[in-house]
Symmetry: C2
Subunit: 461 residues, 2 copies
């Protein structure tokens, strides 16, 4: 089909929403390492995980052999409310850059939660409802996950208890109000409502909280209240599974016009968006059918891939969650407060960590003023105000397109635009006022984080 | 076609974006009354209007005979970035209400400006660019129009000077930052940068500004700087013309599935959304081809249609703009500060005013706590967080659907969902906290406003 017939937006029809999620692990020769029980250092069993997570989600977490897992009709019905999401040809950006490259992006911000997080939130809420639970608990930092989960719980009539990092609770009152509008119970963390919260408040009376602390509170409430389970918006295999709809729809849309991307770019915090976007393409690469270049983009202030260790570590600062083998900066690592966006997690999805370790994917770290410059440039020509997280991918997509301009290569670039920046205007204001700064941790900063890595028999530290 | 085949979202393809705007006035037997020069009380000439507005927009403003006006290719190219907008079947809302009614809504919030305002902003920016202007000036209150215009000007490389009502500038810093991110120059109004601003500040040192004052400043800057013109986001005939894309796309989508709406509902502030949504349907009614029930929904705190006078009035509080014949509460009328949403304009589009006066359209006034209750109910089941303005239409759509539940009628309802509420969370917070109040002006309040109506020879006052 002729190049000229590619529309600005490639919309698929509702019956082109995937009816199965693609489980990338099934095609991996080197499987991601299993979660370990921190007390025994043995792989977590389904029963152990079932205390914290919903049963069906535990099964998905542990299944690394089934390539396709059916999406229940109830979830597909919800997906129809905002999916298929548009795949957009960035004609205006290409023109502004004067590049011969062809740029496409998959836009996941076209739903009220404003990000791709909803793809997994609705799945997790569905399985909780199906199990007959009363509700779920979670933590949220910037608030995208909490918002998505609140929407999903409102839809299924589940109670939703969100522990929101106190500094975000106070600085992002609008995010909090969106969650409340969807009926969620939002508590600033650390709080006096949990034992772990009270303990932390006693030790650090003035603390403004952290994601790790909020996780600990959410897990405590889930495990101490009958009818509740804990849910998580990234990192886990189950989350990457649900997010595979991003990549599958992208592939369907591109295939329709005979377009094969050369480079696929996504931002990476815990890895849910990147893992979902690349899934079917990486599957082809793993099966030796086609080749692609994959680039994970992370903030230079929280460089898990580019400067982290590949080791077993805790997922939370409170060290109560299972150990995951991943690229990590140590569970005690906290990025500088001047870092505006999300992508602040110290670790990285085990699946993506394994792929990176096996040389199947590249990673780049970018600084935030360069990220916001890309965000602004993109917004002005493409008309979408991107989230800071998503803008990491935009930065590298623009860099790649400018490189094509120099070399004359007509590469096809696909990147994930995970969400919108409506609730990040404080950061944009700093950039607009010219007072945004960059931060790169020193080697000493990183060494301090690595010192907290747990000792796991048989693992190099 | 079977009822069951109607998808959640009816997306059209890019080549189904209208290539012409529909000029409803051409089919009106009683044309809207012309704008008058306030000094002479004679109809404004094109030359007089050309001092303030772009030439081509003046021509559109005065043309009440040409039924279809071609949309320039450059504007259609921009439309492709976010149009056609989805027409959504509210299956989840219908189910939640248990109504036999079929509810559809046209969602115009799926672009960064977050509202339908972009449809006219891009057209006005295009004509300004085509005329070789340096830039445009405007005012903004809640900020939707200013945001849309900033995006449009960024796209065409025009300077954009926005006078933002000071109280909004301070209370809605995020809106301000979106405009700045798109490169606009945003000044809190009243300001010391204009003669009229200085005069107002001298008379009222502590004033937090008003839309009328911001209009006056914007017009002053446009008329005193070579290469600048003033643009307006609602009320004018040209704006309704551009917004006809909303209705035309809605009609194309519904026709595709053989659906004819019985009731068409839109919120009304200045009338740009409502006028655009109903345009092609009203055209059929005017030509005697089909019948529809049209309902304009306005806030009870600013009831132009339901309690206003049909008379010539100023469009601005500063009384420097032309006189328009419309349903008005008087240019000095200011809705109570407790009213959260937009729709605060004292007057109403002349075109819609004439249609209402001729009995072709109904109007309802609704109170804001009832509006936010509808907004929240809608958000929880349909997954879109609506703007307070749009939620006026949701309120009446729900009321109509509940009436159908009582009577058993299977009416088909279409309403306009003009935008998203991301920047209105302060109002949602008040509602969530149960401290939102209603306000209905007394007859005495209204009489005070009517006293300020200008005396126009030959007009009843």
């Amino acid at each position: 089909m002729s190049e000229n017939t590619i529309p600005y937006k490639i919309y698929l029809s509702e019956n082109e929403i995937p009816d199965k999620w693609y489980n990338l692990r099934a095609d991996m020769k080197n499987k991601p390492a299993p979660l370990l029980n921190p007390a025994t250092c043995k792989p977590m069993t389904a029963d152990e995980l079932g205390v914290v997570f919903c049963d069906e989600l535990v099964a998905q977490e542990l299944d690394d052999t089934t390539p396709y897992i059916e999406i229940p009709q109830e979830i597909r019905d919800f997906y129809k409310m905002y999916r298929p999401s548009p795949l957009i040809r960035a004609y205006c950006l290409e023109k502004a850059l004067g590049t011969p490259a062809k740029i496409y992006y998959k836009f996941e911000g076209n739903n009220t939660s404003g990000s791709h997080k909803l793809n997994s939130a609705i799945a997790q809420a569905y399985y909780a409802k199906k199990q007959g639970l009363k509700g779920v608990t979670t933590e949220t930092g910037a608030g995208q996950w909490g918002t998505a989960l609140s929407m999903a719980c409102a839809y299924f009539g589940l109670d939703c208890k969100v522990f929101m990092v106190k500094v975000s609770y106070e600085q992002k009152p609008f995010r909090r109000e969106v969650m409340r509008t969807y009926g969620a119970n939002v508590t600033p963390s650390p709080s006096t409502t949990t034992a772990v919260g009270r303990k932390i408040l006693e030790a650090h009376p003035g603390t403004t909280g952290s994601l790790g602390c909020a996780i600990s509170e959410a897990v405590e409430v889930a495990t101490s209240n009958p009818g509740y389970r804990y849910v998580l918006g990234s990192v886990l295999n189950q989350v990457l599974l649900h997010q595979s709809v991003i990549g599958m729809e992208s592939k369907t849309a591109l295939d329709k016009y005979g377009v094969k991307p050369d480079v696929i770019i996504g931002c990476a915090g815990g890895g849910s968006n990147l893992g979902g976007l690349i899934a079917p393409f990486m599957g082809e690469k793993l099966r030796g059918e086609k080749d692609y270049q994959f680039i994970a983009v992370e903030p230079a202030s929280c460089p898990s891939f580019t400067r982290g260790r590949f080791a077993y570590d805790f997922c939370d600062t409170g060290m109560i969650c299972p150990l995951a083998k991943m690229y990590t900066l140590g569970s005690g690592f906290i990025p500088s407060a001047n870092h505006a966006g999300g992508l602040r997690f110290h670790g990285m999805s085990s699946t993506l960590s394994q792929l990176y370790h096996d040389g199947l994917m590249e990673a780049r770290a970018v600084e935030q003023t360069a990220v916001f410059a890309a965000a602004e440039q993109f917004a002005r020509v493409e008309g979408i105000l991107p989230a800071p997280e998503s803008s990491h991918a935009i930065r590298v997509a623009i860099d790649e397109a400018l490189r094509c301009k120099e070399t004359g290569e007509e590469k096809t670039i696909l990147f994930g635009l995970t969400g919108t920046g409506y609730f990040d205007m404080t950061a944009y204001e700093k950039f607009n006022d010219g007072v945004m700064t960059d931060y790169i941790p020193t080697d000493e900063d990183l060494e301090a984080g690595f010192k907290g890595l747990p000792v796991v028999p048989g693992q190099d530290q």
